[in-house]
């Protein structure tokens, strides 16, 4: 079992009356709410936390991409990842990921990911999300009717840019480049492992199987809502004759650990309610740009027995607005519905074992910081998890090989990093 420590980098000081006074946390969130000098501290805290997670022994640290978003301050996760590459030594870095259709030309992604892979000595996991409607169609103005085709073409271009040895011309439907020849080239050969975060669409599952990529279901609504999706994924793998190697899949889960369940309830109530109350307050206007959801997925949503069986817990085929509208926003509801798993280390380990086995996922992407959780509590949650929960689950799925994990350069081959931080000598002497 792999435990990956995931940061969304939420702005932690949205006002108490945010839901009442502001229409949306995303796309048109007002600039007056953003205080750059406060954000300076947030970014630095968040990066401290990611580095701390690496120090505590998490298997990987993860960052992702959002735009015009009050709960995701990483328009460029690659900037953070590069910094992490210099501040960590062994831990794989998962960029989950770059929304391919947003980069023009998409070879930019091949280049930047190659840079991270080279700087980190081969520790990169390359995530390729399509991106949410808010990020892609609205904040970045991409045409929803062409987004997926552009994404798929950009993917082909990036893979070719990584793997072809000679300069080549790319004559795509949306991209034409006469001379594709990226420098640098990735350390990991033929290329870094590719992971695909996606919703519950059959096309994505098939594509991941065909390409032998990891499929990740990154929902904020926990294992109960995710069960139908992961069941669908495995049913499709069965149909395609693929094995049930749990490392084919990744799953996002919020967790809060404390000495006791009561204590956890008390400690994580505020950050969890901040996240589900404020961070997910997205205007329904941004929910469903036409064409973003493929017709096959619309059809599945309209007719799926899976969706019906899972009832209101399922997010399959539902638009963003629908998903956000019906969610719990109070701690009791958040915990009851499984959005956040809380408890003592033993209780959390037991629940996670159940989730991992019932969903058959080998990669947990864990959110141990959420909402306005401060650094102190984040570190507490992180350390307790690493020390008391992780060891109990480490052996899970040990019969399977994780073929989708980074293969870094041998430690002896890698550059020696200086001890940080570099302070100008004159200042350090004071």
């Amino acid at each position: 079992m792999k435990f990956m420590w995931f940061h969304l980098m939420p702005y932690t000081e949205l006002p108490d009356d945010f839901r009442e006074k502001h229409p949306s946390v995303w796309v048109d969130i007002h600039s007056s709410l953003f205080d750059p000098k406060r954000a300076h501290h947030m970014y630095n805290d968040f990066m401290d936390e990611l580095e701390y997670a690496a120090e505590c022994g998490f298997d990987a640290i993860c960052v992702n991409e959002h735009h015009s978003n009050g709960y995701g301050l990483m328009p460029s996760p690659n900037l953070i990842a590069t910094s992490l590459a210099r501040r960590t030594r062994e831990t794989p870095i998962c960029v989950m990921g770059n929304s391919l259709a947003l980069y023009n030309p998409p070879t930019r992604v091949a280049e930047e990911f190659a840079m991270i892979d080279v700087i980190s000595g081969g520790r990169l996991i390359a995530g390729f999300p399509v991106g949410t409607p808010m990020d892609t169609c609205f904040a970045y103005g991409q045409n929803p009717s062409m987004l997926r085709e552009r994404y798929l073409e950009a993917h082909d271009l990036v893979i070719r840019a990584w793997t072809e040895k000679d300069t080549f011309a790319f004559n795509g439907r949306f991209n034409q480049q006469r001379y594709v020849n990226i420098w640098p080239r990735p350390v990991q050969q033929p290329h870094p492992p590719v992971w695909i975060p996606g919703g519950g669409s059959v096309e994505t599952w098939r594509w991941c199987a065909e390409k032998d990529y990891v499929y990740c279901y990154l929902s904020y609504y926990g294992y109960k809502a995710g069960k139908a999706i992961m069941d669908g994924f495995w049913a499709e793998m069965d149909r395609l004759g693929k094995d049930r190697n749990p490392y084919r899949a990744g799953f996002l889960q919020f967790v809060g650990v404390a000495e006791t369940r009561e204590q956890a309830m008390e400690l994580y109530k505020e950050p969890a309610e901040y996240f589900y109350g404020r961070c997910l307050h997205v205007d329904g206007r941004w929910a469903t740009p036409p064409g973003y959801v493929t017709e096959a997925t619309q059809r599945a949503g309209l007719q799926s027995q899976v969706a019906k069986a899972a009832g209101s817990e399922s997010t399959l085929g539902k638009g963003t607005q629908e998903r956000f509208a019906g969610t719990a926003k109070d701690m009791q509801g958040i915990v009851d519905r499984g959005y956040v798993i809380i408890g003592s280390p033993d209780e959390v380990a037991e629940q996670l074992r159940e989730v991992a086995t019932s969903l058959n996922v080998g990669h947990f992407m864990l959110l141990l910081q959420y909402g306005n959780m401060n650094k102190e509590l984040t570190k507490y949650n992180t350390r307790l998890f690493a020390e008391k929960v992780m060891p109990k689950l480490k052996d899970l799925f040990s019969e399977w090989e994780d073929r989708w994990w980074p293969k870094p350069m041998a430690a002896a081959e890698r550059a020696v990093l200086p001890d940080f931080t570099a302070t100008p000598r004159a200042l350090a002497a004071e």
Partner: protein, 276 residues
């Protein structure tokens, strides 16, 4: 012949609505529906946002004295998934030009509403012989920063009817599944119409049509719903100024963006007079 109540504001009036003749033409390999009704000189209609999932009273008004020919735009109801192969402005314009020819509308009068208005204007600009007289109902295609059109796709579902029609019921009536409609395919078809419009116009609705307005020689009637909440009225003046041929602006009281849905009689009357 089927009798249906007319506009709810005139509950006493009943209008006759009968089904048009349906045929199909092959456009880029996609079977594309063409409706035809009436007799007399030909007049074509290219639909606006939402397309035409059903025949509408406005077309009957035109059919009283004219042969009305209504080809479906790619991706609009009746147009299959034809939009999926149109990747840029040139693709859309050429497809529309071919559609006009395939539907038998070469040299006929042409009416375009909203999305269809932007495309009708392109055809008239680039192939002057294809269009005799032109009528545009609140066409897309221009963009003015100080007064942008509404974003028809960034809307909560319940806000759409009142955005597009002065009387929201007119939009709801257009989109309500008829008895016996496939409960899965019907909503998908409506979303597809919205997607097709987005494919052509995303994100601002600016097709740079302004550059080609000076090529329009056809006499052009510009119709605007007085309560259009999508396309600012000042755009009528911009069109009138840009078009080389003679033009006239007509404001339709009691109508929204899709004026032909709100005030079928008024809009048809103005068009029939213009193209007489």
């Amino acid at each position: 012949m089927l009798l249906r109540p007319a506009h709810p504001s005139n509950p006493g009036v009943r209008v006759s609505v009968s089904d048009p003749e349906v045929s199909f033409v092959e456009l880029n390999g996609v079977q594309t529906r063409v409706w035809r009704k009436g007799s007399g000189p030909r007049i074509g209609f290219l639909a606006g946002l939402g397309g035409l999932p059903r025949w509408i009273p406005f077309l009957d008004r035109l059919a009283e004295t004219r042969t009305v020919i209504v080809p479906s735009l790619p991706g609009f109801p009746g147009g299959g998934r034809g939009h999926a192969q149109l990747d840029d402005q040139l693709d859309w314009v050429v497809a529309t030009r071919r559609l006009v020819g395939l539907a038998g509308l070469d040299g006929a009068d042409l009416v375009g509403s909203s999305v269809g208005g932007a495309l009708a204007a392109e055809v008239a600009a680039l192939w002057p012989e294809a269009v005799r007289r032109l009528a545009l109902i609140a066409p897309f295609g221009l963009y003015e920063e100080a007064e942008p059109p509404a974003d028809p796709w960034a809307q909560r579902a319940d806000a759409v009817p009142a955005l597009l029609c002065a009387d929201p019921e007119n939009w709801r009536r257009l989109k309500a599944p008829p008895e016996g409609a496939n409960s899965i395919e019907w909503p998908i078809e409506q979303t597809r119409a919205s997607e097709a419009a987005a494919r052509f116009l995303w994100p601002l609705g600016n097709t740079r049509l302004a550059k080609r307005l000076p090529l329009i020689q056809a006499p052009t009637l510009l119709l605007w719903g007085e309560q259009d909440r999508v396309m600012p009225r000042s755009y009528a003046d911009r069109f009138a100024k840009g078009i080389a041929g003679p033009s006239e602006i007509r404001i339709i009281p009691g109508a929204g963006h899709l004026a032909e849905l709100d005030q079928p009689d008024e809009v048809a009357k103005a068009i029939l007079a213009w193209t007489a």
